[in-house]
Amino acid sequence: MGEHTYLGEFELMILLTILRLGDDAYGVPLSRELAKQRGKEVAVGSVYAALDRLETKGLIASSLGESTPERGGRAKRYFRMTEQGLRSVHATRKVLSRLWQSLPSTDEELA
């Protein structure tokens, strides 16, 4: 347990979104999917800052893809989760699941 890196809320969301997108996980679809799931706009710069942190921790890896004219000739940077990243997501989920068990129900849920 002590070996795992526990994840922050935004980092966890990004890792799960990378998993959801699969081979198409680069900046644009990542930001769109995050905005869709959260229900509010995200700053692409903050997504990249989190991605850089995750890559430094070894939880994700990136590779450069094709460059297209609508990107001003710039290459896409694709992200994929590493084994270590997957282990961290599972470890974080276990901890959160245990903690959520003591969450009392709201009046809305009881009704």
Partner: protein, 219 residues
Amino acid sequence: MKPTGSAALATWMLKHLTFGGNEALVGDLLEEFLGGRSLRWYWRQVLCAIGIGACSKSRDYAFPLLFSAAWSMLYPTWRLSIVRIWSSQTLFERWTSIDWPYSTALHGISQIIPAAAFVWLGFFIFLTLRTGMAHELSRLRLFGSLSISLNVLLVTTIGLWMHLRSSGMNVGYVAQENFYSGSHLIAIGIPLTLSLLSAISFALSGTRRRRHGTASVAG
């Protein structure tokens, strides 16, 4: 297809003010903008990216800056311990007895060598403190760091020398024990701090680039 008008200015700012120029980020924002996002959205994203980049970089360089400033405060001890060594005193006296302009040039060198050695010692101590950084640093990058620090030291020392001369201080008394009291210590600390910080920054940028390169190959 290239953006025009204020969008071109925003793109330029994004490329040059995000410290390290994240090409993929620029490409993503362009893709969204040229795909139909508003100019207002584009500017907001660009300004956010610049702000986030600046915060992130300031965190990265806070420790090197503090280390450089703290290390430069130790210079008087280093300088005076060198001057006290008998052999170096004899050497300095021999140099000053040589005819002008060689005596002036040698005097200048005698001031720079201890300062450069001090900065380089600080640089190697920093590398040792940052476990793993020394292994990631290529020989070329190491040589570049040392070379840049020397150039920064020379330029800032000349600047300081000119400033001190214009304010009536004699830098020729640099070897005297009381030279480093008060404002002199702070003034001398500026070239040393900048020199050490430039060496560390150059080395840090090298290790980050290498890390990204490894990730790209792995992907």
